[in-house]
Point group: C2
Amino acid sequence: MELFYQHGIHAIGINEVLKSSGIAKKTLYNHFESKDALVLATLEQRHHQFISWLSGCLEDVQTSEMLEKQLFLALDQWINNKVEVLGEFRGCYFINTAAEFGELTSPINQLCQRHKLAVKALLKQSLNDADDAAVERLFLLGEGIISTAYTCHDASVAKRAAEFTS
Amino acid sequence: MELFYQHGIHAIGINEVLKSSGIAKKTLYNHFESKDALVLATLEQRHHQFISWLSGCLEDVQTSEMLEKQLFLALDQWINNKVEVLGEFRGCYFINTAAEFGELTSPINQLCQRHKLAVKALLKQSLNDADDAAVERLFLLGEGIISTAYTCHDASVAKRAAEFTS
DNA sequence: TGAGAAGTAGACAGATTTGTCTACTTCTTT
DNA sequence: AAAGAAGTAGACAAATCTGTCTACTTCTCA
């Protein structure tokens, strides 16, 4: 997961995965049918890690103002490598992977979509599905922050976004 | 450019570029030192196309409300394939490419960053650099819209975002 | 303790990658 | 018209990719 996340799927060969993990090739192909299946498994793992981390961050949110504040705080910590379980920040693993796997029929692409919908659902749920439109906008802001932090190498974007709270 | 944008850089081999363009391999390597140099050229071309299209869309913007409205309208048209010069929507070419080329030292990565900064600067400039904080937030919303439209296969996200104007 | 499951190391096949090079053709320009 | 530049088609080299297979070792558990 770390290798794929840090370098991209196509940039990492199976042999690098083997060397880095110390696993034999036969063993790997015993557990996973193909590289794609392995990638899918890393996406599932990351999905659970991420949702679990984020829902922890939003645990005691009551109002949409609190949600915004907590979300931006969480993103800022992630972006600045303060969240151990998420590893070194290199943008969103799902956005990055969807960029490489664009086929709508590919299970990899579908999982990326499902992840994003789950994140959006988590935000809505944290306010008991009140104020859906505001949450939708907040979700978009969050996506913009993650994307900008990565592509622009802008580590302070979440902090700045938190300042001009609407 | 079309091939790389639609399928990703690593997914497209030089031979596919040759077949699709009808150019001989020798000719291509006469004009471009390497595949990376070709990719860089496509990014430059896309950058100019995109900035030129977007600045046209924001031409007569006066207020920050107008900027928001016009930006979301433009994004909606792009996402729904109404903008011929941008081709079939497959997310942001620069976000997608940065996902594949993460090395900070790579010229490809640097160009992706420069493009985003140019887009942000264009937004600010369209309001004569007044209200920078609001424009920054708007930029983030735009990035979120583009990313969400692609990853979630959500063609109506820009239209919905335009509805709940803050 | 002994047998079967599961792991290791890595050779190998077959496909695919980028980039070079040769031999030939066409275009351009004086 | 003639010459040099630039294009074409594609063979080829060298590297790299995924996935299979063999031969051997280690672990697990009855």
